[in-house]
């Protein structure tokens, strides 16, 4: 049991490339913290620095009460699950799980009980004698988690553990990881580029961009009050619609028209960007909300819901999610969004206004 604390952690590679530019955050004891961001945002580097397989250029990482900057990975009381599992191909499942304990000089009987226990928990008991290559992707994933569990570490580190699995299995394993983490109650740091995984797993969500934290908080808070256009666009699928707007009286207007209502915003002179999610747009007129006049370009029915790709007079695309009263392609619709679902961002800095 331990907290993980990062203070102004930086990573500069030889050659001057700054992968992580001063990141600070805390993961409370027993919480699952997800680091999410596009590729190259430094999330994996950050995780590897916590694990100790990447050196820290400056800053401070604490696990529990210890500063672990210069401590070997094996001494940090962590366990890591890798994207490609990194199982030892020549060892049986049992040996894969037991290897770390043996290196630590754990007594044989203790190793045996711990491995059996973890295997039972992960339902991989029948495979203990097999080699990793005889297992399916999902089973290998379980073995990799088993190897982490038997160590009884203070912190679990997951490096995109589900990205090698197919979509269905990914969904199952996601739920299982969550359950496992809850029942073991071990502090975890989880890296992913998948916003769905991030939203569903996280107690604390850290959105990274270009080596810096864009926003940090509970997932739903990031969803409902994104601090920047980057976070707003990254969290939620399909992505939030962005429309450049100017002040018009006490309301807003888009260049070329098509937008009305949306009163009570303080818009800077140079204009701003209005953000609204596809799922918050409806065909029914909402009092005090924003109204959009759209020409329907494409209708994409995916079963339970239908995505309408509409166009403002300027040609700006707006996606709307509807369940019924689906309009025809080429027709015109007016959709509206409630005041609390409108987000306004500075057009220069991208920060929330």
């Amino acid at each position: 049991m331990a907290e993980v604390k990062l203070r102004d952690v930086r990573k500069t590679y030889t050659g001057g490339i700054e992968a992580v530019k001063g990141v600070s955050f805390d993961v409370p004891d027993g919480a699952l913290c997800v680091l999410v961001g596009p590729s190259g945002c430094g999330k994996s580097t950050l995780l590897r620095m916590i694990a100790g397989i990447e050196t820290i250029t400056s800053g401070e990482i604490r696990i529990g009460e210890r500063i672990v900057n210069d401590i070997e990975p094996s001494e940090r009381d962590i366990a890591m699950v890798f994207q490609n599992y990194a199982l030892y191909p020549h060892m049986s499942v049992y040996d894969n799980m037991a290897y770390g304990l043996r290196n630590r000089g754990t007594p044989k009987a203790e190793i045996e009980t711990r491995v059996r226990e973890a295997a039972k928990m992960l339902e991989i008991e029948p495979y203990l004698k097999r080699r990793p290559r005889d297992l399916s992707g999902g089973q290998r994933q379980r073995v990799a988690m088993g190897r982490a569990i038997v160590r009884k570490p203070a912190v679990f580190l997951f490096d995109e553990p589900l990205s090698n699995l197919d979509a269905k299995l990914r969904g199952q394993m996601r739920v299982e990881i969550k359950k496992l983490q809850r029942s073991l109650d071990v502090t975890s740091v989880y890296v992913t580029h998948d916003q769905l995984e991030a939203m569903t797993l996280a107690d604390i969500l850290v959105v990274l961009n270009l080596g810096q934290i864009e926003q940090i908080g509970p997932p739903l808070e990031l969803y409902s009050r994104p601090a920047s256009m980057f976070v707003a666009g990254f969290i939620g699928a399909p992505a939030m619609n962005f429309i450049p707007v100017r002040a018009d009286g006490d309301g807003l207007s888009a260049e070329g028209g098509g937008l009305s209502g949306a009163r009570g915003f303080a818009v800077p002179k140079q204009g701003a960007v209005l953000g609204v999610r596809p799922e918050h747009l409806t065909l029914s007129g909402i009092e005090g909300g924003a109204l959009f006049d759209l020409e329907v370009m494409v209708v994409e029915a995916v079963g339970a819901e239908t995505f309408i790709y509409g166009k403002l007079p300027t040609g700006k695309e707006v996606i709307v999610r509807l369940y019924d009263n689906i309009p025809k392609v080429g027709g015109r619709i007016t959709v509206s969004a409630a005041r609390e679902h409108l987000h306004l961002f500075d057009s220069g800095s991208g920060r929330r206004i």
Binding site: G52, S74, N103
Partner: protein, 283 residues
């Protein structure tokens, strides 16, 4: 590509294969036949195409007594010498090159790339090219007529180092990282992970290097002067060239047959591992 199995499609490849086998095997068969006849039958040019009656006697003389003319040493000693030389060269090359490849791939040290290129360049300097300086050094170190002199200069191997380097570079970095997290230091990682993973590569290399060592001719010719240090490849040649006696062809042929056996045995015994080492990697 799915082919229809017709009669001719099956016959022609087999025919070609059988012709190939015949071309390779016929001289070997002739040598075997020659090793089972009396010397007079061979030298008058009338050797029948089937084995004669002298097989046991000829092979007994070859292995335990030796020819009466030249080499004096029985082939048994030569076989032992050749075997020791081939084994030490094969094992030594594998041991040295796997360690140097490990250093080059997994450790960052000053002049690492220089070391790599120096090893690489020695590919262009086989024994034949550096024969004089190598001989001089061996002679200065009193290595003439010793097993050390026979094997040491042939052990350093760029080819095997490069092969292991290529293999190590395909081992995923995550395995190293997982090992570090599992508390395995450099030595443990080498012993517990890298060596077992290289098993098939080592076997394939062993087959190639054993035959390389077994077939060495020039270097043993230079470094050995005493008869009891002779290798079988040198022995055969010395048996053929005789100044003042008739070449005992039946014994020469028996020696040739015996010289063939160990490499063939190595190939047959390690065939499975050999093929696996060349075609698949255990990852």
């Amino acid at each position: 590509m799915v082919e229809q199995r017709t009669f001719w499609r099956g016959v022609i490849p087999h025919l070609v294969l059988w012709i190939g086998i015949a071309i390779v095997a016929f001289p070997v068969y002739l040598a075997f036949v020659a090793s089972t006849h009396e010397p007079t039958i061979i030298s008058n040019g009338q050797m029948p195409p089937w084995p004669g009656s002298q097989m046991l006697e000829n092979y007994y003389r070859t292995i335990f007594i030796g020819t009466s003319g030249t080499t004096r040493e029985p082939v048994g000693t030569m076989l032992l010498n050749s075997f020791i030389m081939a084994m030490v060269i094969a094992c030594g090359k594998i041991a040295i090159s796997i360690i140097s490849a490990y250093a080059i791939v997994y450790f960052r040290f000053p002049l690492r790339m220089t070391a790599f290129w120096v090893i690489f360049v020695t590919l262009m300097l086989p024994v034949e090219v550096r024969i004089y300086p190598t001989y001089k050094i061996a002679a200065d170190l009193n290595l003439l007529d010793t097993y050390a002199g026979l094997t040491l200069p042939l052990i350093a191997s760029a080819t095997a180092t490069l092969l292991f380097r290529q293999f190590f570079m395909t081992v995923p970095d995550e395995l190293v990282e997982a090992s570090r997290i599992d508390g395995a230091g450099p030595f443990r990682f080498f012993k517990d992970t890298l060596l077992p993973l290289s098993r098939t590569n080592m076997a394939a290399l062993f087959v190639i290097l054993f035959i390389y060592g077994w077939n060495q001719y020039l270097w043993p010719l230079l470094i050995t002067t005493r008869d009891e240090m002779q290798t079988i490849v040198i022995g055969i040649r010395k048996m053929i060239v005789t100044a003042d006696a008739i070449t005992e062809w039946q014994l020469v042929m028996a020696t040739a047959m015996l010289a063939m056996l160990p490499p063939v045995a190595v190939v047959i015994l390690m065939q499975k591992l050999f093929v696996r080492g060349l075609v698949e990697t255990e990852k």
